[in-house]
């Protein structure tokens, strides 16, 4: 028994080779106690029964219903569904909605999906752990559920470049007692009218590639089951669904470039300036984007400059800086790190730099490189006589301290 208020457990068992049905608790059986669904299959001599079966389970309560995605049960397997736990943990159903926390009673429905008839039965089990009393109840089912009245869902969807979403179908699942509920299905053979805007997999999983619009087309097979008096008969109906996908404009920094040459501004500092454009030529639209750098060193984090001869400094590895992308430009100053340490020896290390941007609406909000890798090489080497010099080079520019003090 699970749960905090586990006075009762109400379970449904699905026994292979028996028909399934509805469990209808009376109003005196509150849902606030644990409710479990158990699915068990008894192996059948006919090998076809040994294949896994899909099932649907749902809960109807006053003011709504809670429909789980189709599950699968294998021969000999018992599946238990604890609706109380789902309510307490606010587990979303196939439509993304949880059971409201104030729901204390309702009706549990279950059924098997597919053409097989008379293959399962349902068993409810009620347990009062306080009194140590248990009772069970099983019911037969008639024909399998019909899946009808399908339509694409969502009809339209808007999401940013790099984002992913599922297109599919919503359909009415009608059981043999004519009770109805809605459930989501993925459909098949999905295709995009404009793959450069939105790509989509056969199963309807779409990825936004660039701003614009695309129509998504998918197919779904409705199935209708009816009892002709002696047996269940079925017919199917193929439907086509059309959904619209919109990827809103997402301006991003582009044409990142160095302005002028790198310059030695003294004291061993190498200075650069950079600018960029907006992909839609309106820089103010980049107000949610950043432009910046990542610099990595071959070594630990923090990276400590090899000292001596370099200054004994520790820097984050990687070093990351970001700036508002609406700015007209950035400068980049590469210094020596401080005071050099004697005794001087020949030494060198390289940092690797990328300039990059980040926009929430692009690449899933992850960084996108603008340029790189760029090597930043710092060297201490012999100079004239017994003296030593410091050199830093990047992108063909150099700054020096010669001689080192």
């Amino acid at each position: 028994m699970r749960g905090r208020n586990s006075d009762f457990a109400i379970a449904l068992s699905f026994l292979y080779k028996l028909a399934c049905g509805w469990f209808r608790p009376t109003s005196s059986q509150p849902l606030r106690q644990i409710i479990r669904l158990e699915y068990s299959l008894i192996p059948e001599t006919n090998a076809s029964w040994a294949t896994p079966k899909k099932y649907l389970a749902r809960l109807f309560y006053e003011g709504g219903d809670y429909a789980l995605k189709p599950g699968e049960v294998k021969p000999g397997q018992t599946v238990m569904l604890d609706f109380k736990q789902m309510r307490d943990e606010q587990t979303p159903d196939s439509m993304g909605s949880p059971i409201p926390l104030n729901v204390e009673r309702g009706q549990i429905g279950w059924s098997m999906v597919g053409a097989d008839n008379n293959t399962m039965s349902g068993r409810s089990e009620q347990v009062n752990t306080a009194l140590g009393v248990r009772s069970t109840y099983a019911c037969y089912n008639c024909c399998p559920d019909s899946i009808i009245e399908s339509h694409p869902a969502p009809f339209s969807l808007s999401f940013d470049v790099g984002g992913q979403n599922q297109f599919g179908f919503e359909a009415t699942v009608r059981n043999c007692y004519l009770s109805r509920t809605f459930t989501q299905f993925v459909g098949f053979d999905w295709s995009s009218s404009n793959p450069s805007v939105g790509e989509i997999s056969n199963s309807g999983w779409a990825t936004a590639m660039d701003s614009g619009n695309a129509s998504m087309t998918g197919y779904f097979e409705e199935v209708i089951w009816e009892n002709n008096g002696s047996q269940c008969v079925t017919q199917s109906n193929m439907t086509t669904g059309y959904s619209e996908m919109e990827v809103p404009p997402c301006p991003y920094p582009t044409n990142f470039r160095q302005v002028g040459q790198g310059t030695d501004v003294g004291n061993g500092v190498l200075h650069f300036e950079y600018t960029w454009d907006s992909s839609n030529e309106n820089r103010s639209d980049l107000n949610n984007c950043t432009v910046g750098e990542i610099v990595t060193y071959s070594g630990n984090n923090p990276f400590i400059f090899p000292s001596p001869p370099f200054p004994s400094v520790a820097v984050p590895n990687p070093t990351i800086n970001d700036h508002l992308a609406t700015e007209p430009g950035i400068e980049d100053n590469h210094g020596s790190g401080g005071s050099f340490v004697t005794p001087y020896t020949s030494s060198s290390f390289t940092a690797t730099q990328y300039y990059r941007y980040k926009c929430p609406c692009r690449n899933g909000g992850q960084y996108v490189n603008l340029t790189g890798p760029i090597s930043i090489i710092r060297t201490v080497s012999p100079s004239a006589g017994t003296r030593w010099k410091y050199t830093i080079t990047k992108s063909g520019a150099t700054a020096t301290i010669n001689p080192l003090p």
Partner: protein
């Protein structure tokens, strides 16, 4: 310039977190709403006291957003340039629009301290300001980036801009931008700091642009008190894009609770860039002389377990 560059180098070890804190240009004077002044009486300094009326029509003013704060509350100064001329004027405010300020303080015990210019290694916003005729440039300056107002009492803040204001044809506009204001730092008030922090979190959550989010995050990161840790943690979500700023705030606090948040960041996404930043901050806290021994042991134990 060389003097400035020397400071660049010196700042490398410290690794000051940046903020692209550029200002706004508007046709009207901005309405400055102060941070969390619900309980602390707001006594806005009359900016006219610090105005320097330019003969040629450019007005510069500095004023405290709140002249009365509690210990560890961010201290903000409004910086305004009003161009009443018929031509545009420009000003170089330097790296991240911060390098071009020269500040000094007189502490409550009467000691005068000249604050170094904010300079840094690596990338920064260039910080050139252009003010069209009849336009006003406004900027909020977070004074805690220059100094920690760590003691209770009256602080005098003085300063000026480092570079001249010029016209488009490089003509220097005579201007005395110097100012002096008095800040009253009152004793600890945890409840007030909570309100200030909460207000900043709301600004971060409600803002639609990176600039406002980053400004609010930077101010929150300077609520240098463990009371801010839960608020800093609240905005540590990738969509906010302010993780670096927040991690530096946690590093500044450097107590057990902030260290635990940094450890959690690393544990949750050990290979991420944000985890690298958190690891660097843990190392800085571990190597800080003032850090609590228990905190150092906590960090050491965690970092060694990751080896």
């Amino acid at each position: 310039m060389n003097k400035t560059i020397t400071k660049f180098s010196a700042s490398l070890l410290i690794y000051i977190i940046f903020l692209s804190g550029c200002g706004n240009i508007t046709g009207d004077t901005q309405d400055f709403s102060s941070l969390g002044k619900q309980e602390i009486k707001s006594n806005l300094t009359d900016s006219k006291q610090n105005n320097n009326e330019m003969s040629d029509g450019v007005q510069i003013s500095f004023s405290l957003v709140d002249s009365q704060v509690v210990l560890h509350q961010p201290v903000l100064v409004n910086f305004i340039i009003q161009n009443n001329l018929s031509e545009a004027v420009k000003l170089k405010l330097g790296q991240n629009y911060k390098q071009g300020f020269l500040f000094s303080v007189v502490t409550p015990n009467g000691k005068r301290v000249q604050l170094p210019q904010l300079t840094r290694e690596g990338t920064s916003v260039i910080g050139d300001v252009l003010i069209e005729p009849q336009q006003t440039y406004t900027q909020k300056i977070l004074m805690n980036e220059w100094i920690d107002f760590s003691s209770v009492g009256k602080w005098k803040i003085e300063g000026r801009i480092a570079n001249p204001i010029k016209t488009g044809d490089e003509k220097i506009i005579k201007a005395d931008s110097s100012f002096s204001v008095t800040l009253d730092v009152q004793g600890e008030n945890t409840e007030h700091l909570r309100k200030v922090s909460d207000s900043l979190v709301q600004r971060i959550n409600q803002s639609t642009g990176y600039k406002e989010r980053a400004e609010a995050a930077l101010a929150l990161s300077y609520v240098n008190d463990p009371v801010a840790v839960p608020y800093l943690e609240k905005v540590l979500t990738p969509g906010k894009m302010v993780e670096q700023i927040i991690i530096k705030g946690l590093e500044r606090i450097g107590d057990k609770s902030s260290v635990q948040v940094l450890i959690n960041i690393i544990s949750e996404k050990p290979e991420s860039e944000i985890a690298s930043l958190a690891k660097f901050s843990l190392s800085m806290i571990e190597n800080k002389k003032s850090s609590d021994l228990e905190v150092k042991q906590m960090i050491n134990q965690f970092l060694r377990s990751k080896l």
